[in-house]
């Protein structure tokens, strides 16, 4: 496909039709100001704002990536990192098929907090959730406080995907979503949106949302 030059293969509006579409619910977790929204906006819109205002509540975005024959549509819930929103997180991660736990490589506390999130996910989320750990702000490696090896080891011990990303320079942003897409099971059901079209829908459009059955 001509418009999938970048590794991520983000679907352009005029993208060709795919054989198979899978939908997955993905949730981003992590302390405030680690760059969750930046990561998502870079992935979805290709934009980056140096001064992103902090997210209020959770924001919903979608983006589709292509792996071979399959189009994987991510329904991304970008949660608020502020402490007062933490108790809302179960709403998003219970029932999510994938989660990205983000920390800031300049901030050891955010890494500790990320570990708490991972623990919570392992305890409370669905048992086969795919968890990815993203060490964001990799462009600022000069003032790094969390070692790559340390995080890598932690990720390996807990069976997490792990990448150091940078929303600013777009390093590993598409890659981490793609890695998640690859790891998600694609043969079975297509996530929670296994919706059955109402028969009485007057327009009866059935184009876009086709489930794999």
């Amino acid at each position: 496909m001509a418009n999938n030059q970048r590794g991520g293969g983000i679907q352009r509006p005029n993208g060709a039709t795919q054989n198979k579409i899978c939908q997955f619910k993905l949730v981003l977790l992590g302390e405030s100001a680690v760059g969750k929204s930046s990561l998502v906006l870079r992935f979805v819109k290709g934009q980056f704002h140096e001064y992103q205002e902090s997210t209020i509540g959770a924001a919903f975005l979608t983006q589709t990536v292509h792996i071979e024959e399959t189009a994987v549509k991510f329904e991304i819930w970008d949660t608020a990192g502020q402490e007062r929103y933490h108790s809302l997180a179960p709403m998003y991660y219970r029932g999510a098929q994938a989660a990205i736990v983000v920390y800031d490589i300049q901030n050891q506390d955010s890494f500790v907090r990320a570990q708490t999130w991972v623990k919570e996910l392992q305890r409370q989320a669905s048992p086969n959730i795919v968890i990815a750990l993203a060490g964001n702000k990799a462009d600022l490696a000069a003032s790094r406080a969390v070692d790559y090896e340390e995080a890598k080891q932690y990720a390996d011990e807990n069976g997490l995907l792990f990448m150091e990303t940078s929303a600013k320079t777009a390093v590993n942003v598409n890659e981490i979503f793609l890695a998640i897409a690859k790891k998600l099971p694609k043969n079975e059901g297509t996530g929670p949106q296994q919706n059955i079209r109402p028969s009485g829908n007057e327009t009866n459009r059935t184009s876009g949302n086709c489930c794999s059955k």
Partner: protein, 1265 residues
């Protein structure tokens, strides 16, 4: 009592009272395992326990003083190790050490009363036999009763008993003596059946004797290192013995051997084969004796010289890689600190030996014995410590100190003292620590028997159950429970043993309850953990709970287990206490506990009042749903409270309610689990009913409609809508009913959130976004009402400042609608494009442009949205598509692009449109700043060739925007600009340093110098020094291009300037030094003096150092000159000496005949003229010589042959020897006149030297040219 003992012993020796049980000793009917029980032969009033005995050995304490409390005190000293699993060997409960008191007493008694000497050998099977150093053999039955005593060896003066061996069925005992005799004794009666005095090498003692697997075959080892096979015969009732040497010690003395005894009838090795392992000081063998003698395997076994090889067989269950199992004999061999394991397998009639593994220990060992098939016991040499090693894991399980036992070593036997010491030194040395016959193991009960001087000790490995009992007895409850858990978990896969284990643990628990009556809190943690592991929770609430004095510890431990999900159901009594306890100390724990525990075990009244009291909403919702099955009540009660709490910044309740609603609508339990299937639809319906309720339960009349939803939206619109959108993904909302429900909710939402309300503006945006999502996913009909609302929202050109997040969402809303073609019915694309541009939704605009194929506007949208990342991606993707008009668009928006990312766009242009660069430059001409930036990128890139006036333009811009970089540019890009133009420019901008540089470059040194001098004069104190040095270095540069007068003028002017400033005195010397190479020194001094005079009061001292410097310089240089002359003179002299030596060196001539005419050199060449040709030429390298005339002749011939016109390419200075063809320089050949040489006679030379050297031509030095 004592009087009774003696007769019984003597009676035994005299043989009259064999096996009598009437003696006191005989009455000791002890089981081996119960040595420390009631009966003891020691005449003590109190019966000591095993520990008491151990203590006695260790510390020589008075036995009476050892009581149980003392032991307990001891135990407390041993630190409790919670990480029991990792350090198992610390518990000290594995090895069991017993002293065979009966045997020990008899040995002492025998030694005292019949002078039997100390014990020297032991053998244990079902019976025990002890040999002594004076040749007595004492035999005991399993109950340690002395059966008989044999003094035959002593009578025959055979010295000490050195080896003993029972046969398989314990009917015969073989005894070897240190003087070589071997006795066979009937074990029942003590009768000597055979006496073999000559079965082994004469004048050698017996080192070892063992029965083999064959009942009539035994092996014996003598001090000569030979192994003898003894086959016992009984021909016509006459007992005999054939002894045969199996292995001669001449080729390496055997130190030990170990026959393989297999007790398993079905095993192939049992019947058909007789195998034995032998070990010498250098290797070990596995030898087959029957059916035929054959070495199956031998292997090197090296180690320290003073260590003996050790062997031990054991039948081991081996699980191979292909998961087949077999019981095979495994031979453990060791020497020094290395331990090897070999497996013996039998396959299709072949016996194979497989190497299993090697273990290297940190110490040298003297004894190696299997204790069971999993463990091996090694005794360390230096400290006499027994190490128990787990063979599978190589881990040391436990070690115990045996040094107090007084282990007996058979060094006397190995040194052959009894036979006159005729043993090899190697064997004698290695045998220092031999204990083959004093430390023996017993296959029947896996016990290691150790013979002390007058005592017999047994060491065995306790079974799991025994260890528990042991720990119980020592009241080490923590260890006991940890061990119990360990054992329980290891039997998980074996159901029958699992049950037995569990029963044993329950017994342990009973013991614990009884044992800790007085201090019930002790070791509570281990006990509770153990009960939880074995799944006997019921016991937790019974006696354990009842007897507690204080419940705190118990409750804390229990809480820990509950929070770790180990325990979910507890007794209501306990749960009551638990909640009560935590309600007083930690509310968080209380809530966590309520959430974790199953509700039926809670006192609901207590729990509910607690959660209401403490406002534990999570727990409250949990209890409401689980216990009361009421999913609506929580909402009805709690939603009205949301905003009260929120006002204090406490979102907890609101968040929890949102999560609760979301969970319920998704069919999940709160906070964990699932809602039961049969209630699912009811629950969802109920929740929706509450949300869409027109009025609250007890609302007033003026209450606004939909109070609950309103409250939620007021609390957090975005999250509430998120909850709904998550819920709408559920299947229930995709039915027809579900669709109408959706519509209803959205209608309600629209009712609550008014579009035109200022406060709700943001909320309305969120709602529109939500609706558009619903419409695009076709979950909401795109009916006019909704669309109008949304379009209103989209098209509203925001008067209010909206955040970027809101804008993104708005854009997304717009985009969603576009992509699903919802808007096409209402607007044309052009209209939409207008809207998009007006509302700054540029990605939407881009999308429409793509659709309309109006590519020429696309770059503009990127530029307007300032999204350079995507822009460049787009440009790169379509740079080759002509219809996209990329180039034109870039040109058009070039200025904006430069502003956005000048680096990237410049690179792009340089790479893809290099020829159009002038066009781009033209484009920026009216914005100097951008022009400058672009030019800078181009010039820095370095690969682009620009018109030279572009450089001038750049210089111009640079001097405007960045004057301090002008000089750098001028220096680095010196060929690219027009000097005059630059000069002019610099003059205009007054960039002096650049001007100086340019003047110097133009070779206008005068102006450059004048300018820089001006500069120096003007420069303030702080920069003067640097400026002066700059001028100085310029002077150095230009000095070579100046005439003398100018040069002097410049320098002097500079020096004057420098001297005139006091603060520059630091660099005066440097300047003078540099100038001294270019100006006349006298004038320089003069100048300095003058200057000094002018400067009035300045003393001579100021320039003193200059003059001194000059003088020092002069001195130094004259010295330098002198030294150089010396060196040159010496060189010349050396050269001369060398030349002279060379000239005086003798030349030696190998042949006395001319190599051309073959006549004697002394003969004159007849046909040649007599004058100058009468010379001889000698080649100094090869030693050949010719007449000069002959040579010239040959040369002439040679030249004649070559065509005469051609110039002779032979170098005239080169000569070629006609004999060997070597070419030499003419200088290296010597001419001498024939008349002047004389032949030194051969005889004259040989008289002195007596050498057969070729004849030499002695040449007179003076005659040489």
């Amino acid at each position: 009592m004592d009087s009774l003992k003696a007769p019984s012993l003597t009676s035994l020796i005299s043989g009259t009272d064999r096996g009598s049980s009437d003696s006191l000793l005989g009455s000791l009917n002890l089981d081996l395992d119960e040595i420390d029980d009631d009966l003891s032969i020691l005449p003590v009033a109190e019966l000591p326990s095993l520990d008491a005995i151990m203590n006695e050995i260790d510390s020589d304490l008075d036995i009476d003083s050892i009581n149980s409390s003392n032991i307990l005190a001891d135990n407390k000293r041993t630190s409790y190790t919670p990480t029991f699993n990792d350090e198992k060997h610390q518990s000290g409960s594995i090895l069991r050490h017993v002293i065979f008191q009966g045997v020990t007493a008899q040995i002492s008694s025998a030694s005292e009363r019949i002078e039997a000497g100390y014990a020297s050998a032991v053998c244990v099977s079902r019976m025990i036999a002890i040999g002594t150093s004076h040749g007595f053999i004492l035999s005991f039955d399993g109950g340690q009763t002395l059966k008989w005593c044999c003094s035959e060896g002593q009578k025959k003066h055979q010295g000490a008993v050195s080896a003993l061996s029972f046969n398989v069925d314990d009917t015969r005992l073989l005894a070897g003596f240190s003087r070589g005799a071997i006795l066979m004794i009937n074990t029942q009666t003590g009768d000597v059946l055979r006496t073999l005095l000559d079965a082994i090498s004469p004048n050698a003692g017996v080192l070892a004797i063992k029965w083999t697997s064959r009942p009539t075959l035994a092996l014996s080892l003598d001090t000569g290192g030979c192994v003898w096979s003894l086959s016992f015969t009984r021909r016509m009732g006459v007992r005999g013995c054939d002894s045969r040497c199996l292995f001669s010690g001449a080729r390496g003395e055997v130190c030990t051997f170990e026959p393989l005894i297999v007790n398993d009838e079905s095993h192939p090795f049992q019947n058909n084969y007789t195998l034995v392992a032998l070990a010498t000081l250098s290797k070990f063998f596995i030898l087959m004796i029957r059916p035929r003698l054959k070495v199956i395997k031998y292997h090197m076994l090296s180690g320290p010289a003073d260590s003996l090889p050790l062997l031990s067989w054991q039948m081991v269950l081996i699980q191979s890689a292909d998961s087949s199992r077999s019981v095979d004999p495994v031979l453990a061999t060791a020497r020094g600190s290395s331990l090897y394991f070999h497996q013996l397998t039998y396959h299709n009639g072949r016996i194979n030996v497989t190497f299993l593994r090697q273990i290297t220990l940190g110490y040298n060992i003297v004894s190696l014995h299997w204790l069971g098939s999993k463990n091996i016991a090694c005794i360390e040499r230096d400290t006499e410590t027994l190490h128990l090693i787990d063979v599978r894991t190589n881990r040391e399980l436990e070690s115990t100190d045996l040094s107090s036992l007084g282990i007996i070593y058979s060094s006397a036997q190995f040194k052959g003292i009894a036979t006159g010491g005729n043993v090899s030194k190697a064997l004698a040395l290695a045998g220092t620590f031999a204990c083959y016959s004093t430390i023996v193991s017993n296959d029947y009960n896996s016990t290691l028997y150790i013979l002390g001087k007058k005592s017999l000790h047994g060491i065995s490995v306790r079974s799991w159950s025994d260890r528990l009992s042991y720990l119980t007895a020592k009241k080490q409850w923590a260890e006991a429970f940890d061990l119990a858990i360990d054992g329980y978990e290891s039997t998980v896969n074996k159901p029958r043993r699992h049950i037995i284990t569990k029963e044993r643990i329950l017994q342990l628990f009973d013991d614990y309850l009884n044992g800790t009556n007085r201090c019930p809190e002790l070791y509570l943690e281990s006990a509770i953990k153990c009960l939880i592991v074995i799944d006997r929770h019921d016991l937790l609430w019974q006696e354990l709970w009842d007897r507690l004095y204080s419940q705190e510890v118990y409750l804390n431990i229990l809480t820990q287990h509950i929070l770790n999900d180990k325990l979910t159901l507890i007794s209501p009594t306990v749960s009551q206490a638990l909640l009560d306890y935590w309600s007083k100390s930690s509310i968080e724990k209380l809530e966590a506990l309520i959430l974790k525990l199953e509700w039926p075990c809670l006192d609901l009244h207590q729990a509910l009042s607690l959660v209401k009291n403490f406002q534990l909403y999570k727990a409250l919702m949990h209890l409401n749903t689980k216990a009361l099955n009421d999913y609506a009540m929580s909402l009805v009660e709690l939603i009205p409270l949301i905003n009260e709490n929120n006002e204090f910044g406490d979102r907890t309740l609101g968040n929890n309610i949102l999560v609760y609603i979301s969970s319920c609508l998704a069919g999940r339990g709160y906070p964990t689990g699932e809602i039961p299937e049969n209630m699912l639809s009811n629950v969802k319906h109920e929740i929706m009913r509450i949300l869409t309720a027109q009025h609250s339960k007890d609302g007033t009349d003026n209450e606004l409609p939909y109070p609950y939803l309103r409250e939620l939206l007021k609390f957090d619109t975005r999250e509430t809508l998120n909850v709904l959108s998550l819920a709408f993904m559920e299947r229930e909302f995709s039915t027809e009913l579900g669709f109408s429900q959706r519509q209803r909710i959205i209608n309600i939402l629209l009712d609550i959130i008014k579009a035109d309300d200022k406060d709700d503006n943001q909320k309305f945006g969120i709602l529109c976004n939500f609706m558009s999502q619903q419409i695009t996913t076709q979950h909401l009909p795109d009916s006019a009402t909704y669309l109008t609302q949304i379009i209103n929202y989209i098209t509203r050109e925001d008067a209010l400042q909206i955040t970027s997040r809101q804008h993104i969402e708005k854009e997304q809303t717009f985009m969603n609608l576009l992509e699903t073609n919802t808007l096409t019915s209402r607007f044309t694309f052009e209209e939409m494009l207008e809207i998009a541009n007006a509302t700054k939704c540029y990605s939407v605009a881009r999308y429409i442009l793509e659709k309309l194929k109006k590519y020429e506007k696309i770059v503009e949208t990127f530029v307007l949205s300032k999204n350079d990342h995507e822009l460049f991606r787009y440009i790169m993707e379509y740079k080759n598509c002509d219809d996209r008009k990329i180039f034109q668009q870039i040109l058009q928006h070039f200025q904006s692009l430069l502003e956005m990312n000048c680096d990237k766009i410049s690179k792009f242009i340089i790479e893809f449109y290099p020829i159009c660069i002038p066009q781009f430059l033209q484009n920026t001409i009216d914005v100097p700043k951008l022009n400058y930036v672009f030019l800078q990128e181009l010039i820095n890139n370095g690969t682009v060739a620009l018109d030279s006036n572009e450089y001038d333009k750049y210089l111009n811009l640079l001097s405007d925007y960045n004057p301090e970089n002008v000089l750098e540019f001028l220096q680095n890009q010196n060929h690219l600009y027009d000097i005059d133009y630059a000069l002019n420019l610099c003059e205009q901008r007054n960039l002096t340093s650049s001007m100086i540089y340019l003047y110097e470059k133009k070779c206008d040194y005068k102006t450059a110098f004048t300018l820089s001098m001006e500069c120096l004069k003007e420069s303030p104190e702080s920069t003067a020094e640097a400026q002066a040095l700059k001028v100085c270095s310029m002077c150095v540069r230009i000095s070579n291009n100046l005439n003398d007068a100018d040069r002097e003028t410049y320098w002097f002017e500079l020096i004057k300037a420098v001297l005139s400033r006091n603060y520059l005195s630091s660099i005066v010397k440097q300047v003078l030094h540099l100038s001294s190479s270019y100006v006349d020194l006298t004038k320089l001094v003069q100048l300095i003096m003058q200057n000094d005079v002018q400067g009035s009061a300045k003393s001579f001292g100021d320039i003193k150092h200059i003059l001194i410097g000059m003088l020092t310089n002069f001195e130094y240089e004259s010295l330098l000159l002198k030294t150089t002359q010396n060196i040159l003179g010496r060189d010349l002299h050396t050269k001369l000496v060398k030349e002279k030596q060379q000239a005086e060196a003798g030349i030696y001539c190998k042949f006395l005949k001319c190599s051309i005419c073959k006549r004697k050199l002394s003969d004159s060449v007849t046909n040649a003229s007599q004058n100058d040709n009468n010379q001889i030429k000698i080649f100094s390298i090869c030693g050949h010589s010719i007449h000069n005339s002959c040579y010239e002749k040959s040369q002439d011939e040679c030249t004649n042959e070559i065509e005469s016109e051609e110039p002779c390419d032979k170098d005239l200075n080169k000569l070629q020897c006609s004999e060997c063809g070597i070419i030499i320089n003419e200088i290296d050949s010597i001419y001498l006149s024939k008349t002047n040489w004389s032949l030194i006679s051969k005889n004259d030379m040989n008289i002195d030297l007596m050498l057969k050297a070729p004849t030499r031509l002695g040449l007179n030095n003076k005659l040489l040219s």
